[in-house]
């Protein structure tokens, strides 16, 4: 059997983490190809619906990446994201859903390596977790 390859959707803020992901690219840091990036201007604009849709439609994990606390280019977007994602995780937890499929990370524009490492680590952990159960539920 082929090894399970998790699929990750990443919502990254334009200024820090997206630029950091670019830096990983220019530095040619290798990381697993399991991640697809969606650029948003700020993590404060990551709707929980985006996260849920990604999970329902087949992603095995969702990464939200933004500027470090205090560095959001729109004052407080990342704090809003933090609150929103915490609540989302709590709710999902209530339904018995593994909240650790959703990762919120602060990665700055200079932290290309951190982006590559985070991706690699997330892929590893999702491999252990196995496929997203919602996907199967949905398929019946």
């Amino acid at each position: 059997m082929q090894e399970f390859e998790p699929r990750i959707v990443a919502f990254l803020c334009n200024w820090c983490t997206y630029t950091g992901a670019d830096l990983a690219g220019t530095s040619r840091l290798q990381y697993p190809p399991n991640i697809r990036i969606v650029r948003l201007m700020c993590t404060g604009a990551v709707d929980t619906i985006y996260v849920l849709k990604a999970l329902i439609e087949g992603a095995d994990g969702v990464l939200i990446g933004g500027c470090h606390p205090g560095d959001c280019h729109y004052q407080t977007g990342n704090y809003k994201a933090r609150r929103r994602i915490t609540i989302l995780k709590k709710i999902l937890n209530r339904f018995g859903y593994d909240e650790d499929r959703i990762w919120l990370r602060w990665i700055s524009a200079s932290e290309g390596k951190l982006f590559a490492d985070t991706t690699a680590q997330m892929v590893e952990e999702l491999k252990d977790k196995g496929p997203n159960p919602i996907k199967q539920l949905w398929m019946v």
Binding site: T19, S27, R36, V38, V46, T76
Partner: protein, 1009 residues
């Protein structure tokens, strides 16, 4: 007035200061050359990823147009800035307005245009040396990329270490390496020069007793900073050099190479107390178990909000601060731990073991500064930093050459940003004439109206960098995606090795094929989209209907070993981009006409210097002063610590302001109301009972502060109890009461650094030293006692503290829990305090008791904040948009503050701040039009229920509910396009261009699909 001078500017040094000056001046259509001797710009700053007092980075806020990328990228992107890296100044001729500069472009040995960054040369290079920013713990090869985010992003061979073995030549497939590369001499003509040389760390090895270089686990603060960086090899968790283990107990030793005449370093480096505090705090944040101790002489937390930071470090983080003298550091044989022997203030000797020791290095002028200064003709001071006049802080001894940042004196980032802005103001004063600027007229770009386009005309550009894309991805398979799509007009391959050529190629195609939407797939999408933005507007699409898929950086480069997977990822990213481009809603790029007048509120030193600076550039200024005299608090100041005459300065400034045809002075006036947004404010001023309306584009608050009046120590009850300011007046007038006093006791921090006023007033230690010296000058016999908590005579002021001690002024420290006590029975003042050095309580009779009561914010600040929509910090001073990189700006660009209303400061700094605020304001209003932010929000009125949630969600007050229609509106000039409102809207009425909720949900189909 016409200024017949060359408007080009040379900035030497590409660190924070240089980049800041460059970015500000570039906004005003100056052509800027940034000359940097290193192969990449950035200076020290790429070393830092956390800064005090926020423990965040924040330098992105430095750009005059927020939101922005890191200043390194912004400098690279800016069309008016040209980076001359790896270049060395050679000679200078000419004078202000017309300099001829010759410089040497050192050989890079790698052709930037050809190099595709494959890294093979680095792999084969046999030479290994210490990396510049690796602080001796990281190695690099002779051929190397200076650091990961280096701009220009290109390898460079360092000539001194390279053996020219030629191994790299063999593996370089594009043939980018040329070992025969020679240095080239070039010439430039510029009108003005800004020096942003920065500083260098002191060589810690010179203080042999601490064992740097001998003991493995003794590291310099620079090394530790590097270890703490997430982008370093340690991943942000410092390890002991001896065994790589994470230290559990770390000691920081302060003042290594500062305040130490024994090693030729008499001055204080100003920033080490804070960076050590930061390093200790961040270390603790990363490892809760870690213990940190800081060994120091005085903690100098004198910047805005720094005292609170220091208190937090002690209270919340449990960092130990030990006022002590270290007598020995020994390495323990087995464990390689360090054994400290140190003497506490009371003479007690202690011993303690640490896993790791960090030396807080002071800073020295850059190497070879003497040579460079000589070439420029610029004079240096006794410490080999740039010599400046106290009241002209950013002017060097050569007219037309200005200085910014740490080359004047070691300083922190906010001060550097302020000074660099102030230097930019000086350049503007010399070269700019507002009335002669090139004004582009009302005509908007000729836009094709595509709102009712019948079909889409999409162009897809595959941007390859020397075939790297094709190596990693199956381009044919990707282009097959486009074959069936009727909306796609053309699919082009573009070589973007040279960004400019690539961008031009795309521009031409857009025009030729009349494209209305553009998708870029490949390398450098971010940079290309910046370069193309204006052209998209100009040529056809009316706005920026452009999207990019970085399949270079996100696929080809990072999944090199798995081409099929990389290709399939690339396909989904390209399809997502295509979908996004198709869904993009056409709109016009908005912009607004900017009103050119600047309103300056407050006629003290900083307000006067703002007003003068603006007027010198030919801008109209209205200066509003509450009292009937200009001068503010400086009217009661007489001399500075360095001996300059404040009253002479004031007379000069006031007369120049009053005589200047561009400045309208309104005395006895008050700001009553302020409406509008950046670029177009409407203010109401009451002058002598009459009301006056003013239209202006920016406003600078320079409303000053006041001397806080003590409510203790018999102040106001006993006539011999004075504040420093009144003491200064007596001394300046040589009045008997002061000049004849035999015993004078000064108490520092009265009403500062306590629960009620948790901030440090910064200037009082200097004031005390200044007045003590003055008294000694008038009456050498007088006994002067200064009772203090920490002497904060930072920077070059240290010299005077030293001098005062030499002249017999007695400094005695007290603890906040054992404050000096004063009695005044029958009018005689008796001061008693505990002297911990002699371990005795001392009581003495004082002729005069002088209280350093510090500076308080004006009460009026509250009213002004209310009127102008500004924030105050917890202490009542104006709060800045970003304490690090935008220290004088409000969140809503267009409002600036400076001087004492911003924070307590010395006069030189107030002048600097005044000019800096002027520079920032003038960069905003220089162009007759200013564009709105991209990707703004808009409202689908049909769906809007007027609930107002978006109004409260918006961080910029850019949302209102229209009273008539009860629908939400977007204030376009305030909206910065973050998208927060989109997801706050329960009805889906709020949308953001290019990031509509439905668009994102659609894209998800492509990415997951």
């Amino acid at each position: 007035m016409s200024k017949d001078m060359n408007r080009d500017v040379l900035v030497i040094g590409g660190g924070i200061a240089g980049m800041q000056s460059a970015l500000l001046l570039a906004e005003k259509d100056h052509r800027i050359y940034v000359l940097e001797s290193a192969p990449a710009i950035g200076g020290f700053f790429p070393l830092l990823d956390r800064t005090f007092p926020t423990n965040s980075c924040g330098v992105c806020f430095m750009s005059p147009k927020p939101p922005a990328y890191c200043p390194i990228y912004e400098s690279d992107f800016h069309e008016n800035i040209e980076l001359l890296t790896n270049c060395e100044l050679k000679d200078l001729a000419g004078q202000a307005g017309n300099f001829e500069v010759s410089y040497v472009e050192k050989p890079r040995f790698v052709d930037i245009e050809k190099c595709d960054l494959c890294n093979r040369c680095v792999e084969v290079c046999p030479v290994e040396v210490d990396s510049e920013l690796g602080a001796g713990i990281e190695k690099r090869k002779a051929i190397h990329l200076p650091f990961a985010q280096a701009i220009p992003r290109s390898y460079v061979i360092d000539e001194t270490s390279c053996t020219k073995c030629g191994d790299c030549l063999k593996v370089c497939s594009p043939g980018a390496i040329n070992l025969q590369d020679k240095s080239r001499e070039r010439k430039l003509n510029v009108g003005a020069i800004v020096l942003g040389f920065g500083f260098e760390p002191f060589q810690g090895e010179n203080k042999g007793e601490y064992g740097l270089g001998r003991y493995k686990n003794v590291v310099s603060s620079i090394q530790y900073e590097r270890m703490m960086s997430f982008s370093s090899s340690t991943g942000g968790l410092p390890g002991r050099p001896s065994d790589g283990k994470r230290p559990k107990k770390v000691a920081f030793i302060q003042c290594v190479g500062s305040r130490d005449p024994s090693c030729g370093q008499g001055y204080c480096s100003s920033i080490c107390c804070m960076y050590a505090t930061k390093q200790a705090m961040v270390s603790k944040e990363r490892d809760k178990e870690l213990e940190a101790a800081i060994f120091y002489m005085d903690i100098r937390a004198m910047g805005k909000d720094y005292e609170r930071y220091y208190e937090r470090a002690k209270q919340e983080y449990g960092i130990r601060y030990l006022r002590s003298a270290i007598s020995a550091v020994r390495e323990l044989q087995r464990s390689k731990c360090l054994m400290f022997t140190y003497g506490l203030e009371n003479g007690q000797l202690e011993e303690e073991e640490f896993d790791m020791v960090v030396l807080s290095l002071g800073f020295i002028p850059p190497a070879r500064v003497k040579e460079t200064a000589e070439r420029l003709g610029v004079e240096l001071n006794e410490y080999n930093f740039c010599l400046t006049d106290e009241f002209r802080p950013t002017e060097t001894s050569v007219p037309g050459i200005y200085v910014a940042g740490a080359f004047r004196e070691p300083r922190d980032i906010p001060e550097t940003v302020v000074e660099a802005s102030s230097a930019a103001a000086d350049v503007s004063g010399l070269l700019d004439d507002f009335e002669q600027r090139a004004v582009e007229e009302e005509e908007f770009f000729e836009e094709k109206d595509i709102a009712d386009e019948e079909s889409l005309a999409i162009g897809v550009f595959i941007c390859d960098n020397r075939g790297v894309l094709a190596q990693g991805l199956d381009i044919e398979e990707i282009t097959r995606l486009f074959e069936q799509d009727p909306d796609i007009v053309c699919v082009e391959k573009v070589n973007i090795t040279s960004l400019k050529k690539g961008a031009d190629e795309i521009k031409n195609k857009i025009a030729e094929k009349e494209l209305t939407r553009v998708v870029i797939a490949g390398h450098r999408g971010m940079a290309l989209s910046k370069a193309l933005r204006s052209v998209c507007k100009a040529v056809s699409t009316g706005s920026c209907l452009l999207d990019y898929a970085n399949i270079g950086e996100q696929c080809a480069n990072v999944h090199a070993l798995d081409s099929p997977a990389a290709t399939s990822k690339a396909k989904s990213l390209v399809q997502a981009s295509l979908r996004k481009a198709k869904l993009a809603v056409p709109r016009r790029a908005g912009r607004k006409r900017v009103c050119s007048r600047v309103l300056v509120v407050g006629g003290g030193i900083s307000g006067l210097s703002s007003g003068l600076s603006l007027a010198e550039q030919g801008m109209d200024v209205t200066l509003v002063e509450k009292s009937d005299k200009l001068g503010g608090i400086a009217r009661t100041a007489y001399y500075t610590l360095k001996g300059s005459d404040i009253q002479a300065l004031l007379r000069d400034m006031v007369s120049r302001v009053e005589a200047h045809p561009k400045i309208e002075v309104l005395k006895g006036s008050e700001l009553k109301a302020l409406e509008g947004t950046w670029g177009s404010y409407h203010s109401l001023i009451s002058a002598d009972g009459e009301e006056k309306e003013i239209l202006h584009g920016a406003v600078i608050f320079a409303t000053g502060g006041r001397e806080a009046l003590p409510d203790e120590y018999f102040f106001g009850k006993n006539e011999n109890v004075l504040t420093q300011k009144s003491f200064e007046r007596l001394l300046a007038g040589r009045e008997e009461k002061a000049a004849k006093a035999k015993t004078v006791v000064m108490i520092q921090c009265v009403g500062s650094r306590d629960e009620k006023h948790p901030y440090c007033s910064r200037v009082c230690c200097g004031q005390a030293v200044k007045n003590a010296l003055k008294l000694k000058e008038l009456n050498p016999e007088a006994d002067v006692y200064v009772l203090y908590r920490d002497m904060r005579t930072y920077g070059f002021y240290e010299k005077y503290y030293h001098e005062a001690r030499g002249k017999g002024v007695i400094f005695v420290r007290y603890e906040p829990q054992a404050r000096p006590e004063v009695s005044a029975s029958s009018g005689t003042l008796r001061v008693s305090f505990f002297d911990s050095v002699v371990k005795e309580r001392i009581s003495l009779e004082a002729d005069l008791l002088v209280l350093s009561s510090g500076i308080a914010p004006n009460e009026d600040n509250h009213r002004l904040a209310e009127i102008a929509g500004l924030e105050l910090n917890a202490d009542g001073f104006f709060a800045e948009a970003n304490p690090k990189a935008a220290p004088l700006d409000s969140v809503d660009r267009g409002k600036y503050f400076c001087g004492l209303s911003h924070s307590p400061n010395h006069i030189g700094d107030a002048i600097c701040q005044g000019k800096a605020a002027a520079a920032r304001a003038s960069a905003l209003i220089w162009n007759a039009f200013q564009e709105y932010a991209d990707n703004q929000a808009y409202v689908n009125e049909r769906l809007c229920s007027g609930c107002g949630i978006c109004v409260s969600a918006c961080p910029y007050d850019a949302r209102i509910i229209d009273e008539v229609s009860n629908k939400a509106n977007v204030l376009e000039d305030l909206c910065k396009g973050c998208g927060t409102c989109v997801i706050s809207c329960p009805n889906g009425a709020s949308q953001q261009y290019d990031f509509e909720r439905s668009t994102i949900l659609d894209i998800l189909d492509e990415v997951i699909g």
